[in-house]
Symmetry: C2
Subunit: 334 residues, 2 copies
DNA sequence: CGTTTCGATCGAAACGTTTCAAGAATACGC
DNA sequence: GCGTATTCTTGAAACGTTTCGATCGAAACG
């Protein structure tokens, strides 16, 4: 398997390398005759364009990177879809990376992509990485911070108003008559958790007539919901909350499963809402009321924002904040 | 932001470019004095190594690609984790791509990665892509086919014995006393579905005392399970199967939810097993018996196989087949 | 002390592509 | 038939890195 380059193609087709390049890129018209000969040579030799040489000469690649803490999270996966669609429409490919919420690993990927000369990056990270992103920008790789509002006005970011989300979820519980509200979630060091709780607080404060209990969990997965569900079912019924706002759908799903298993009626005795509106939310045993961030638009908007920054047309301040909406289902239907 | 290259670093540190390269790669010893000067220059200038130049000179990159139909599928996500771990241990990075089961899109990614000169690819595809992979190999990019047994002996592949999986799932149902078995899944054009059904057939045939009904579904998601669950619950109880083997956990989860909602007792009246043992399987309302493919080992083995092929040490035939195992839970506990 | 070996360093060539300025060929208008 | 515009084509330079052979000083050896 001799490696075949553009000059080999040129030799076989009996044209110059420049012409082959023009043919490949449409940079300049190529006569029909030579076009045919070139294509024939490409097919015959199995020529594949070498991106390294191309990129070296061009000075940039035609890819962007999307770095997330967890690709298997349906939330990020749906956004990825929007990103890829939009990027493809702009002639860009997307490199995906899984940081697993691990800082060193995230760093390694950021370095890797920078060395690879991506045009820009969209980074969703639970951590504090604004400084890191600022360095990247300073060296010429634009970034968009996804999922949290950037504190620096010059750092483009795209996020969801989680305070508002927490507010509308809790308001909904209050509206259907709940008075002993519980917020299930943690740890508060996670921004999103903190914001949702803050929204819940605000709604309760506004109402004036309800109480808010906080039930802390370490992880935000189904099994954590099971544990909390067990604990609540074990309480004296008078001590149970009558409305629960779970920090995400996984926790809510876990809770509803055990609550029902213990004979606690949802939503009659205890109404419950989740957050994120993942695919399974509507498919749960009691279809789950949830707060839905705008998945599809989100990815598209992220790419558009990144492209704007790349083209030096960053809006200022470059922060996009999306409002989530409530999806009411059976788990709060009174 | 002037682009800063290795020669700029060399100029500032007052050494030759060759020395900087040696420092970066450890190719040859560099004196402490110059090491310090070089590092200082790098920090000062914010130098980032340009991968294009490097790769062009080297003739190859240090990345491999992992192409899957659906990154958000926990099955592929878990494997990805194993792949990344192992690859990192070998000094390789992993590029992830989402083909969405879409052939043109998959093709586009394969082209992209080939142009990028990846060292090799691990490709999970529901389609017929052996010819495509053969071309890649012929042009110098080794591949490992994941998820289906390659028909060509020379095409390395790594797969799970789905026939065996279908067999043990069905055998388990027979063992606990089921006699009217139903297989829920489709379409049969999908290899994995076909194989699982074949295993089920074999188990039923062996037993001699049971019947196997096939309930076809178009998609293998929760909502499809709901539909089938509704249909079964609507039947005259005497006409219902007493044991169901669902082609995957999503379908099984959907079924168990609606069956229970309709008052059909699981597992007493109807025992049910899923397939894949996804994270949610154990967290379902009735914890789900499932067939567990060896996730972790799988990714590691895929990388090892790919590396062997890259080094020209492909075992022959280069097919690795893993055996799944049954995880018994409440949904079949009689 | 002469010779060899070894460790550091250097400068230049090479990797495969795109682009640029310029040349060749063809068509056009008169 | 001549100048000129137009359409194609060309060869060479440049992108940033690694690597190779050469050089040089110092240490090791007898």
């Amino acid at each position: 398997m001799a490696k075949v380059g553009i000059r080999e193609v040129a030799r076989v087709a009996d044209v110059s390398v420049g012409t082959v390049s023009h043919y490949l890129n449409g940079t300049s018209p190529v006569s029909d005759d030579k076009s045919r000969r070139i294509q024939a040579a490409i097919d015959q030799l199995g020529f594949v364009r070498n991106n390294a040489g191309r990129q070296l000469r061009l000075g940039h690649s035609s890819t962007i990177a999307y770095v997330v803490p967890d690709v298997s999270n349906p939330f990020f996966a749906t956004i990825a879809e929007g990103i890829e669609q939009r990027a493809a429409g702009r002639g860009l490919s997307v490199f995906l990376a899984n940081s697993k919420g691990d800082q060193p690993r995230e760093d390694a990927y950021l370095d890797l992509f920078e060395e690879h000369g991506v045009r820009g990056m969209i980074v969703a990270s639970p951590g504090q990485i604004e400084n890191r992103l600022a360095s990247l920008s300073a060296r010429g790789t634009p970034t968009v911070l996804m999922g949290q509002l950037a504190s620096s006005p010059s750092q483009p970011s795209i996020s969801i108003d989680d305070v508002l989300g927490g507010y509308i979820a809790t308001k909904h519980l209050l509206d259907i008559g709940c008075r002993r509200i519980a917020f299930v979630g943690g740890p508060l060091s996670v921004r999103q958790v903190r914001d949702r709780l803050e929204g819940a607080n605000r709604a309760v404060r506004e109402s004036g007539a309800a109480t808010l209990e906080v039930i802390d969990v370490e992880t935000r997965v189904i099994s954590a919901g099971h544990a909390v569900g067990d604990a609540i079912a074990a309480r004296d019924p008078a001590m149970r909350p009558d409305g629960v706002f779970a920090v995400n759908d996984l926790v809510a799903i876990g809770m509803v499963q055990t609550l029902i298993a213990h004979g606690v009626r949802v939503p009659e005795e205890l109404a419950l809402t989740g957050y994120d509106d993942i695919e399974y939310a509507g498919s749960a045993i009691v279809p789950l009321t949830s707060v839905r961030p705008p998945h599809e638009e989100f990815g598209v908007a992220a790419v558009d924002l990144l492209l704007a920054v790349i083209d030096g047309e960053a809006p200022d301040p470059a922060h996009l904040v999306f409002a989530p909406e409530l999806v009411a289902r059976a788990s709060t239907a009174r």
